[in-house]
């Protein structure tokens, strides 16, 4: 290519844009990343940083597992401030019905090569003594891990920069044309290919994109080392997290390297306000304390909210945007963007360079949901 600009310009330096930038640069492309605010300043920094293999669908499993393996390959290179901890996840079963789900989940994971371990009630209590008595058991997924998300995004951006990428902060992309990116200061960044990795802002750059905000709340506590050892998620989460119509909360607690605990989670559609909602926050904390009564005695030092970029079928949009020349999408990761950023980046660059992919890309192609364009 002989254009005077870049091979690719990426709108957004959240975890997904950052991973895409690093992957493009690794493939030898000339990369520009444009970020309106801070690196990892949107859903990335608002999220927990749980790298988790999920099984809602085969496509979700394939992308989370592929990405989780890529994270583990990268773990040795991550700087200490990324706080990568291979703490594993325990899916907590409250009753016999949920324990049946643990056994189903065990088979699903093992059939696909993910090592897991069933914990009975006694083993669960031994692994996490601060869980309440009387829980049925759980499923330990040891290969899951946690990271400190803003530093992870920054690490990936610095990787890209180390391979020649240009990063521009504090200036928004206002339009992705087929020839590059027009910025809010009136300048134009010419590029052969453009990538919309703007998360919840992606519909502003690509009108018609069905990516909606799904609000979440989190709490972080003071330092209580050893209070929790694994990322703990209630299996009831499977029942609560996927309804599209109502506000839901679930027990979801994460130990940080600092000894702090992140306490979640909540999901709300149709809410634009960034303020902490005391009603939802109260429900969320009550739910957490049902599972872990000792949380009541701990000090929370901060609460905040964030917005996930949700698609109707709960899968991200990765690939060419129908009807838009030279435009690719890497958005709509909802609550799994931290997990699936490396896999997303790999699949995106496979498409940019017409390389074969390690997993089938069809479930993530934007063409499945994005049929029409006002610009055709």
């Amino acid at each position: 290519m002989t254009s005077p600009g870049y091979d690719v310009v990426i709108a957004g330096a959240g975890i997904v844009g950052a991973a895409c930038a690093a992957e493009c640069a690794r493939a030898g492309m000339r990369v520009a990343v444009i970020e309106a605010a801070l690196i990892g300043g949107g859903a990335t920094a608002a999220g927990m940083g749980h790298i988790v293999v999920m099984d809602d669908s085969e496509a979700q499993f394939a992308l989370t597992r592929y990405s989780q393996v890529l994270w583990n390959e990268l773990a040795g290179e991550l700087t200490p401030d990324v706080e990568f901890e291979a703490c594993g996840t325990i899916w907590v079963a409250a009753d016999d019905e949920e324990m049946a789900e643990v056994w189903r989940k065990k088979k699903y994971y093992e059939d696909r090569g993910v090592p897991v371990e069933i914990l009975d009630a006694r083993a669960l209590a031994g692994a996490e003594p601060n869980l309440r008595h009387g829980l049925a058991g759980g499923l330990l997924v040891s290969c899951d891990s946690v990271i400190y998300t803003p530093c992870a995004a920054r690490f990936l951006i610095e990787q890209a920069q180390g391979r020649g990428a240009t990063v521009r902060l504090g200036c928004a992309v206002v339009e992705l044309t087929g020839r590059g990116a027009r910025l809010s200061d009136g300048s134009f960044v010419p590029a052969d290919l453009t990538v919309n990795a703007a998360g919840t802002w992606s519909p502003m750059l690509t009108p018609g994109l069905d990516v909606r905000k799904r609000k979440g709340h989190l709490v972080i506590t003071d330092r209580y080392p050893g209070f929790v050892h694994h990322q703990l998620v209630e299996l009831g989460y499977l029942k609560s997290a996927h309804t599209l119509t109502t506000d839901t909360v679930a027990f979801n607690v994460q130990p940080r390297r600092t000894g702090q605990l992140l306490i979640g989670s909540s999901r709300q559609f149709g809410v634009e306000e960034t303020e902490v909602d005391p009603g939802i926050l109260g429900r969320m904390i009550d739910r957490a304390c049902e599972y872990m009564p000792g949380l009541r005695a701990l000090s929370a030092i901060r609460t905040w909210t964030g917005f996930r970029a949700a698609t109707p079928d709960k899968l991200p949009l990765i690939g060419p945007c129908p009807g838009h020349e030279n435009l690719f999408l890497a958005t709509g990761h909802e609550g799994l963007g931290i997990t699936t950023a490396p896999g997303t980046a790999r699949l995106l660059v496979d498409q940019l360079l017409s390389r074969p992919s390690a997993i089938p890309i069809e479930p993530y192609l934007p063409s499945r949901v994005y049929q029409e364009s006002p610009h055709v």
């Binding site: 003071d222 330092r223 209580y224 600092t258 005695a297 701990l298 000090s299």
Partner: protein, 82 residues
Amino acid sequence: MSEKVSLVINGATVTVPEGSMVSAAVAIAGVTPFRRSVRGEPRGPLCGMGICFECRVSIDGRAHCRSCQIPCREGMEVRTGD
């Protein structure tokens, strides 16, 4: 005449007038520091009114209690220097 209460600070019994705050008892016992910062620096009470969080100690196994806001109770176990 005020009543006295006895509490245990880092294993040593300390007796103070009833109504004394834990921070006062720790100070009377001459124990320093109250706590250590994340980077290991010594810390002690600054504001005395529950705002600065520098006087935190463990009380009966519960970490991060603001000692300037908690009255001494008979038999209380206090640990400092964490």
